[in-house]
Symmetry: C2
Subunit: 467 residues, 2 copies
């Protein structure tokens, strides 16, 4: 307790602004965990909300002196427990550092603080005719800092890549409190090790990101969108394979299965074809070539036995299709609560396989679901081979929970056996530490540990996460 | 000597094939250095040419046991001395590991050994309708392993990015001899630290790359090409700024100055407009939109006072323009030899600035050249803000050499002052160690050192390079 009193005094000295240091137990509770279900968390001793890089340095120096873990947090919308607090730790919330420092339209870059919300950046650059592609499902809540720390993806990735494809420079506060600048503002640059990429996706275990330089693209051409309806998931998968093998570059290629459709329709009725096994939502933003591209995708869907292919007549209609896709998580939570009134919940998985193995993954998930008698909704970024199987569980029933965990493990195992990875875009956090170890093997783990030790010798930064 | 005899015996045991271990002094000499001028090198004690990853492991285990430095080498076409041998070291030449292991057309990836030549990979994937964009000037000689180690660029980068934008997985032999697999074969994947990006561009200081997985693109549409002729370099720079600020995505945007034009014309006469201050060569591969895009670029060049704009009538003509651009290095070497028969040579520099600062960089280089009375030819990837000022020197004249070094330093200093980086694509090697230190500062250097020590605790891998 004395230690903590000392620490809090020190933190109050460094962050004297109102709300800079929180110790009220009710407030502390609200910083305990992100949106991952069924992973452990504790109550922090203190929450700090710095406004400057200097304050972040001060917090890390104090933490190092007291040997207290620091858990960096953004909007806590993560899905792997990467931002979960440890009992007695310092939570370092970066949502107050939310300034867009610079939008340099001529050089097509933006410099932002980590607490800037994804949608805020997207809108600000759109006003300059520019485009920041990464669009995780949480884009209205999640912060760029969190997106960078987890290397977040979204629906854009099939054409535009994930967050790491857009970050070119970082300011990072190291465990020692020293401020490291890495990367550049130039279009090209290869000076020294690519530390920028090392910090992207490191989930707060190597340093605290306090400034981010991203590259921007010209605003894309307006997208044309279609929906194809399939009687089997495998047929939808076959259509995806045809599209991705064709060399075309759709700007979106998403799959939504029957369980998800039913849940969305129940949550917000919009005449979705709930009798279908799956919908594909595809978009192209290839300008003058777009109508041809869309027609080719439509033809490929029909060849793959789509029972209906429907082209959105305008952007408004396309947006409403996207809105449906974006409702998958809340709708499935609602569905779970109705199915299991005592404790319904969802485990959101994230697995990516080589695109040509998508059908095998989809069929395997169906088999696993049936075998264990557990409802699994499948939705995701089909064009990337990246699916989010969502396992519907009853938290109040230990038998059901155990089955849910078995299903989760079986899907992870299937993904790896298909040459895939245990996380396409959500990160490892606490949820997938064992799977990371299995995926990268002992030599990979050893390399991870040695780098972690090199940059954070006292292991104060988000300890226990990732590996 | 005993130590070396022991070592050689051990290496012969591990690499028993013909030519696996070279100790003939004449042969050793030919492995001493890459193509950088005026940087130090030594004679290796032994050159090993492994054929398998297991043999690379054996070499590194032996080197670690004997505490002898290992210098990985590809085609030695690098321009920063990164592959230069150290006296008494083991040179590890990877040109014998030159197999294309897999081209997976449906998933658009290729898996190759490091000794595969860039052009060999490009042609192999082109046969499948695919495209591997990175195209360094040395593409007919340089290896993918070397390209990855230096994060090589080329003329494609303005649209398609550098080597690191295309590498998704690596097999790396660590200093301990352990084999690390990092990255993935999937379109997306964020499992653990991005070790792949850490090794890309690390110039052989962190591990020996023995297998590379790259992503491929669909074959691009045929390019349309134009040449614009300018009376001042600044006018050419203004045209570049207009094009890059417009949001268009040319597939090439190169500048060639008068000195370079004159040198190329003297080396291989092709009616280049040697009275011009600069040529811009621009290409677009945007399919149906390409003629419009090219017309817009032409209009921008005319607005920037181009004295002539010439559209290539077909791909053959465009190819001959590119061939001229690719002759810059040998032509300038020839020019230097004629200018200074006693010891003419060139120092190839590489500096990148934010694209909007290009005119300032170009004008600054002209000023520096005039101020020091040293001929500087400027050629490069204007669309990326990445120039290669080529300093023409007389190796036999210490005064001229000293002036050349001053010009080199002044250009580096100018680049950094414009918010640029000391190397856009050639790497640091030995040539730019001091400039890297200046660019990344003491905290950056410390982070580099700690990572180097974590992965190579005995400092046997290409010691002394980069920092």
């Amino acid at each position: 307790m004395d230690l903590n009193t000392d620490l809090v005094q020190e933190l109050l000295g460094a962050l004297p602004h109102e709300g800079g240091v929180l110790t009220d137990p009710d407030l502390l509770q609200s910083y305990e965990h992100d949106e991952a279900d069924l992973v452990p968390y504790g109550t922090p001793a203190v929450v700090v909300r710095p406004r400057t890089t200097g304050q972040v340095s001060a917090v890390l120096r104090a933490a190092t002196r007291h040997r207290i873990p620091v858990i960096p947090q953004g909007a806590r919308s993560g899905l792997a427990g990467g931002a979960n607090a440890i009992e007695g730790a310092i939570v370092l919330s970066l949502t107050g550092m939310n300034e867009i420092i610079d939008i340099d339209a001529a050089n097509r870059i933006a410099v932002v603080q980590p607490g800037v919300v994804n949608a805020q950046l997207r809108r600000a650059v759109a006003a300059e005719g520019l485009y920041y592609p990464p669009d995780p499902g949480s884009w209205e809540q999640s912060t760029i800092g969190g997106n960078v720390s987890t290397d977040a993806g979204g629906m854009c990735c099939v054409k535009y890549g994930v967050t790491s494809d857009h970050v070119i420079g970082l300011e990072v506060v190291l465990a020692s409190g020293e401020v490291l600048n890495c990367g550049r503002r130039t279009a090209k640059g290869v000076a020294g090790y690519d530390l920028t990429s090392l910090f992207v996706g490191s989930e707060g275990t190597l340093g605290v990101i306090t400034e981010i330089t991203v590259k921007l693209r010209p605003a894309p051409e307006p997208a044309l969108t279609l929906v194809a309806v399939f009687d089997t998931l495998a047929a939808a998968g076959a259509a995806v394979s045809a599209v991705v093998s064709s060399g075309m570059q759709p700007s979106m290629l998403e799959v939504i299965d029957r369980v998800t459709l039913t849940a969305i329709e129940a949550y917000r009725p919009m005449d979705l074809p709930t009798a279908a096994a799956a919908l594909l939502v595809a978009a192209v933003d290839s300008g003058g070539r777009a109508p041809d591209d869309l027609a080719r995708i439509a033809a490929m869907c029909r060849s793959a036995q789509a029972s209906d292919v429907y082209v959105a007549s305008d952007e408004a209609e396309a947006d409403s299709l996207l809105a449906a896709r974006r409702l998958a998580h809340p709708a499935l939570e609602h569905f779970a609560a109705q199915l299991f009134p005592g404790g319904g919940g969802i485990m959101v998985d994230d697995v990516a396989v080589p695109r040509t193995r998508l059908v095998e993954l989809i069929e395997g998930i169906e088999f696993i679901s049936a075998e264990h008698g557990v409802v699994v909704a499948t939705v995701g970024h089909a064009g990337d081979g990246n699916l989010h199987p969502i396992i519907v569980i009853d938290r109040s029933d230990p038998v059901n929970l155990a089955q849910g965990q078995k299903v989760f493990d079986a899907i992870m195992s299937l993904g790896l056996s298909l040459g895939g990875t245990s996380t396409g875009e959500h990160g490892v956090g606490l949820l997938k530490r064992d799977w990371l170890a299995r995926e990268i093997g002992p030599t990979g783990l050893k390399a991870h540990r040695s780098i972690k030790t090199a940059l954070d010798p006292d292991n104060i930064l988000n300890p226990g996460k990732v590996f």
